[in-house]
Amino acid sequence: MFGLGKKDTTVFVVVIILALCAPFILNPFPTGSSLAQFNAGYPDLMQRFVIFGIFAIGFNLLFGLTGYLSFGHAAFLGMGSYAAVWMFKLLSMNVIPAILLSMVVAGLFAVVIGYVSLRRSGIYFSILTLAFAQMSYNLAYSVLTPITNGETGLQITLDDPRILGSSATADGSIPVTNLFGLEMRHFTTVDVAGWSFNFSVGYYLCAVIMILAFYVAVRIFRSPFGMMLRAIKSNQQRLYYTGLNARPYTLAVFVISGMYAGLAGGLMASMDPLAGPERMQWTASGEVVLMTILGGAGTLIGPVLGAGFIKYFENIFSKINDSVLHGWFAFLPDGLENFVIAILHPFVGKGWHLTLGLMFMLVVIFLPGGLVEGGQRISRALRRDKPEDNGAASKASHEPAE
């Protein structure tokens, strides 16, 4: 189906279902319950999940396939955001031109940065990309303020021209990003017996784009181009003597992956029309690296999982403060309650970094292939129960004869 193999079709269908049903899946706890704190099904976070998913998918095309570790990918995301916000300021609040321009701008920068950086490989490449991104960040923060509005970030204002739209709405506020009138921030909340689910226009736009982006990525993975990118990672020398010039292909994938980043940046600005320089900082580039590795570099779905994992911690764990903890453990006797809270206190709220750091270490130590490997292990363990399975049978033949 869709020109994909059987396994890929399954993965793809799973991704579609997950993306479309996210409002349900991410809100498993009734609103009133104390566990509602763990619900992630509100528009902003769902949007972030899929946007960073797109970013990570694109990054993985470059890193997972060719092994070129770019440490400056956030620059493309940032440039995409700036491009999109400028589009909102100058043209109209429709997201389509903004997203298109963000991809084009990011792509153009990727051509230049990629062309230069790909002259080196390994760590030298990483540092070149890092240097470019840090330069962009530092300049955006200071000298380029007329374009980027510096530290504060580029925002839309009441007196932007917006030649195809209006500078201000009738009631004097700034117009809202939209898709031909459909407002991005519009959402409907459906309450079902204690649960409430948010269906947001913005989220579904992002989700559909993410599904498309995922589809394109799968096709690239399975194409001759994708295969030869893996060959680059494996043995460049052999590739050259096999009659293929690796350089244009790596540049191509660098640009594609830069455009994915630009797309993510454009979407981010479309959901929330602001673009700040921190988006280009090395920590942001590092974050997408971490997302990809955490989920499983070189796998199809890993980067999306990794993105979700990190964003979840950032947004959910950081909000658990002591009074929330007291709410959960109120049923315990006072002394015990305070004890439990004292134990948990360093790991939540302002300690969310600590938990995230520990999770990084635990995942990489125990699941060398990332979260995807965790999933595989679980499914393997489940399958092991069924003796008629092929995989298990063929493995048995490898066992010692006695």
């Binding site: 096709r219 194409s223 043995n235 052999r238 003597y241 010039n245």
Partner: protein, 251 residues
């Protein structure tokens, strides 16, 4: 005029003269063996042919065109494939994928690989790859991760990757080193068969005289960077200088 003409090639590594005044002419559709003691410069010479090294002076012409100054992949696209002395394969890929890459390179050229069509759908190329694997008796290993094969298998895979490109000139640097005797014999047969079936020229470096004498039409003996003699196999076998400096008891 041979298909490959090497004229007055010199190559130095620092103080060491690895090649000096090498002249070599390989006639089309023949097997030309290059033998000589270790460190004689055989691999260096091959490196000069495929663009891995650039000679200090001299010229290398393939089919009337100079290969000097061209990139390795351009030289390959001209029709020269090479098997290395230590196996060079795509270790992270399966055997079948290793075979597909040279096929794509041959069909689509250096720059035009598809980014959207699935590899699975290339039935024709797949069947050619499978046929080639069958020829080197590796079809049963087609889905194996190529890094986890034994060394002899890696060599056979590399040779299959070169052969499947149907090059006009095939350069083999000790193709049978480390191969089991049975496979060595197989390889000899395979190379012979290919030579008969197709227009192919081969230059082969080998220390296994059995292979050399079974395949070669002409032999050049290289010693200390210069060609010592070039002659037919029979004459080389009897050449006293060669026997003493190189062949030893094997002759």
């Amino acid at each position: 005029m041979g298909i490959l003409e090497v004229k007055d090639v010199n190559k130095r590594f620092g103080g060491l003269k690895a090649l000096s005044e090498v002249n070599l002419s390989v006639t089309e559709n023949t097997v030309h063996a290059i033998i000589g003691p270790n460190g004689a410069g055989k691999s260096t010479l091959l490196n000069c042919l495929v663009g891995k090294l650039i000679p200090d002076t001299g010229s290398v012409m393939f089919d009337g065109q100079s290969v000097l100054g061209r990139k390795p992949f351009e030289i390959n696209q001209m029709g020269i494939s090479r098997v290395f002395q230590t196996p060079e394969i795509f270790g992270d890929l399966t055997v079948m994928e290793n075979m597909m890459i040279p096929l794509f390179a041959r069909r689509d050229g250096a720059y035009r690989l598809h980014a959207f069509r699935s590899v699975e759908s290339e039935a024709e190329l797949r069947s050619r790859a499978e046929a080639m694997l069958e020829d080197v008796k590796m079809l049963d290993k087609r889905n194996m991760h190529s890094a986890s094969m034994s060394r002899g298998d890696k060599r056979r895979l590399e040779m299959a990757m070169c052969l499947v490109q149907e090059p006009r000139l095939l350069l083999l640097d000790e193709p049978t080193a480390g191969m089991a005797r049975a496979d060595t014999n197989n390889t000899i047969d395979l190379l012979k068969e290919i030579k008969e079936k197709r227009d192919i020229t081969m230059a082969i470096i080998e220390h296994d005289m059995h292979v050399v004498f079974s395949l070669a039409d002409r032999i050049t003996v290289l010693a200390q960077g210069t060609p010592l003699v070039e002659d037919s196999p029979e004459n080389i076998k009897g050449h006293p200088k060669v026997r003493e400096a190189y062949l030893g008891e094997a002759a």
